[in-house]
């Protein structure tokens, strides 16, 4: 956990908890800090709550879910106090979102050019021509050659990879101060993957844009992120700078993930076969450690309690033992 007190934080969330209407806890006490210009990676298996965390920042929690937190500030804007309309336009202006590619994030009945540019026209107060010129530039930056044809297409005329590149270009339209990317490269082949990630790095360096990247792909996160959060069953298991995390992993789950890396290709929606057992059923509150059922080091104490440990101000993990 990053304990530096600093008002200039990009994201300052304390003890975020997300529950369903029936009281099921999906995310418990997640604390998230981000500095300006930082690239933060969140890694975990699917349904570990990593996407939900991102969606709470984007004010997109699905209906029926409820969040609460001790503190929830993004770029100084207090989500706990601010009016929803203000939050909405704030997000539109300052944050770019690259969604998981599995969904239909582009409207099937609207041409690309009419949906890629509307946010930009609104917030940059530019003309439509100017917006389309910018869109063409960004679209070619993510590796699309025939930009004219692409902009005049409907989403369903494009392949999954093409659509995802449109999403990425769309997120960059407003020169956002922060990008939230949820499995941004899942549908792309490895060449384009590299191209896109390099583009993120360029944007990050040139405009000091922060990136919050969510992935199940530990290899990608390792290559790309400066600081990493390991999430499991709605809780943070371990948090550290990249090199620290890989040289000195403390939590059994992190260790297991690192061991799995060489295969590098965890398929989405598939639990990690290499780690025995399942993500616990979150409808029943878990006593003690949430990872205990799959943990090779399980002791009796894990059934009743779990300990937060801080090795130094940049390295946190949630386990009794010092392995």
């Amino acid at each position: 956990m990053n304990l530096k007190e600093n008002d200039e934080k990009l994201i300052d969330i304390r003890n975020l908890t997300i529950t369903t209407s029936s009281g099921q806890i999906l995310i418990k006490d997640i604390t998230l800090d981000m500095e300006k210009g930082e690239i933060l990676g969140v890694v975990g298996e699917s349904s570990s709550g990593k996407s939900l965390t991102a969606k709470s920042i984007l004010n997109l929690l699905p209906e029926g879910l409820h969040w609460e937190a001790e503190k929830f500030q993004v770029m100084g804007l207090d989500y706990l106090k601010e009016d929803p309309d203000k939050i909405r336009s704030f997000i539109g202006e300052k944050i770019g979102y690259i969604p998981q590619n599995t969904g239909n994030y582009l409207h099937p009945m609207i041409k690309i050019k009419d949906q890629i540019a509307d946010g930009y026209v609104l917030y940059a107060k530019e003309s439509m021509e100017e917006a389309l010129a910018r869109a063409a530039k960004l679209v070619s930056a993510v590796g699309i050659r025939d930009t004219d044809r692409l902009l005049n297409s409907y989403p369903w005329q494009l392949s999954g990879g093409m659509r995802q590149r449109v999403n990425i270009a769309m997120a960059l339209m407003n020169k956002p101060r922060m990008i939230i990317a949820d499995e941004p490269t899942a549908a792309l082949d490895s060449t384009v993957q590299r191209q896109v990630i390099d583009l993120f790095k360029i944007v990050n360096q040139n405009h000091n844009t922060s990136v919050l990247m969510i992935s199940h792909d530990f290899g990608l996160i390792k290559y790309y992120c400066e600081r990493i959060l390991v999430v499991y069953a709605g809780q943070i298991m371990e948090e550290a700078d990249r090199d620290e995390l890989f040289n000195n992993p403390k939590h059994p789950y992190t260790k297991a993930l690192i061991k799995v890396i060489p295969s590098l290709n965890i398929k989405k929606d598939e639990r990690l076969q290499e780690i025995k057992g399942n993500v616990p059923d979150m409808r029943v509150p878990v006593k003690g450690c949430v990872f205990k059922d799959r943990c090779p080091y399980r002791k009796e104490i894990c059934d009743t309690e779990v300990e937060d440990k801080l090795i130094n101000e940049n390295h946190y993990y949630k386990c009794h033992f010092d392995l």
Binding site: L60, G92, N104, M109, Q115, L122, M170
Partner: protein
């Protein structure tokens, strides 16, 4: 996709054929002698026989049907014995009234249903939603002729805003015309809003759940844009289909409404034909109205295809 249009037209033609067969068969079974009906009870047997032959009633039913069918292709629906005029002429005289009411009430119903249905979907499970859906339930349970009578008393007699009865053709001025058809159209629309509103609400709810709505929100677009540009666009396909079906029901519904407001439209003509057992007139009216309805639903189907760009572009590719 042209293939689809072709199939759809073939289907419509089939249905029309079945409809003509049913209409003809049903009215063939009518008890009593048509010649007797026309000439009255004091006609001599010779005269009756002569009329039967001239009407072709002595021939086999399929020959009669064939003749009638051939007439249909020439837009000749036969003679009304009651009016002594061509059925086609009678229809042409009264069509503007019925069509005005049907189109106008469809307009009222669509606009109301789209507005209120979207509102109910956006405010799902709130008091607004319950109020709107409850009102719609009530609206589709109240018989139009009763509402019509109440409206005549309230708007016509108490407030004196609208004329109570009668029809003013559009040639005599647009405002008087509008005045004369507004109340009947409005009353007819009340019964139609319910089902349409339900469809709009359901498909709007579905559309609001889509991922692209998330994206529109994240882009910080104003609510109006989000709902109008993104949500309503994909939510309109199912309601347009329903509108086609509704229109058919509406044309039938004018029978009652025209009776309440004493309007000289097709509905009144049907009622007269039924009461006086003017078979040729009834046959002609039924086949004409049904043809109109089938044609409209065909057009709506094809229109929906064109509205849905996915299908449209596939078609261009062919």
């Amino acid at each position: 996709m042209l293939n689809y249009i072709f199939k759809r037209i073939i289907h419509a033609a089939e249905v029309l054929f079945v409809v003509s067969l049913i209409t003809f068969a049903v009215l063939l079974w009518i008890p009593g002698d048509v010649a007797q009906l026309i000439l009255g009870s004091d006609a001599t047997p010779e005269k009756l026989e002569a009329l039967r032959i001239s009407l072709g009633l002595d021939r086999a039913w399929y020959l009669q049907y064939w003749d009638w069918l051939k007439g249909l292709f020439r837009l000749d629906l036969g003679q009304s014995y009651l009016f002594g005029q061509n059925v086609t002429t009678l229809i042409a005289q009264r069509l503007p009234v019925t069509l005005s009411i049907a189109v106008f009430s469809m307009l009222i119903a669509s606009v109301t249903a789209i507005l209120l249905g979207s509102l109910a979907a956006i405010k799902k499970n709130t008091k607004t939603d319950y109020f709107v859906t409850g009102l719609m339930q009530l609206g589709s349970s109240v018989p139009s002729f009763w509402i019509g009578m109440l409206c005549i008393v309230f708007f016509g007699l108490k407030l004196k805003i609208f004329p109570i009865t009668g029809y003013v053709p559009i040639e005599k001025g647009f405002i008087p015309y509008l005045n004369s058809i507004f109340l009947p159209s409005f009353v007819l629309a009340i019964g139609e809003i319910g089902m349409l509103l339900r469809t709009v609400r359901t498909s709007m709810l579905d559309s609001l759940r889509q991922d692209y709505m998330d994206m529109a929100k994240v882009k910080g677009l104003p609510k109006v844009t989000v709902y109008l540009k993104y949500a309503l666009r994909s939510a309109m396909i199912a309601p347009i289909n329903v509108m086609g079906i509704q229109f058919a029901k509406l044309v039938g519904g004018t029978v009652v409404i025209e009776s309440v407001f004493s309007l000289p439209g097709l509905g009144r003509l049907i009622l007269v034909a039924v009461e006086q057992r003017d078979i040729m007139l009834l046959q002609g009216l039924v086949i004409f109205i049904t043809f109109l309805v089938i044609l409209i639903s065909l057009i709506v189907d094809i229109a929906v295809m064109f509205l849905n760009p996915r299908i449209r572009v596939q078609m261009e590719g062919e």
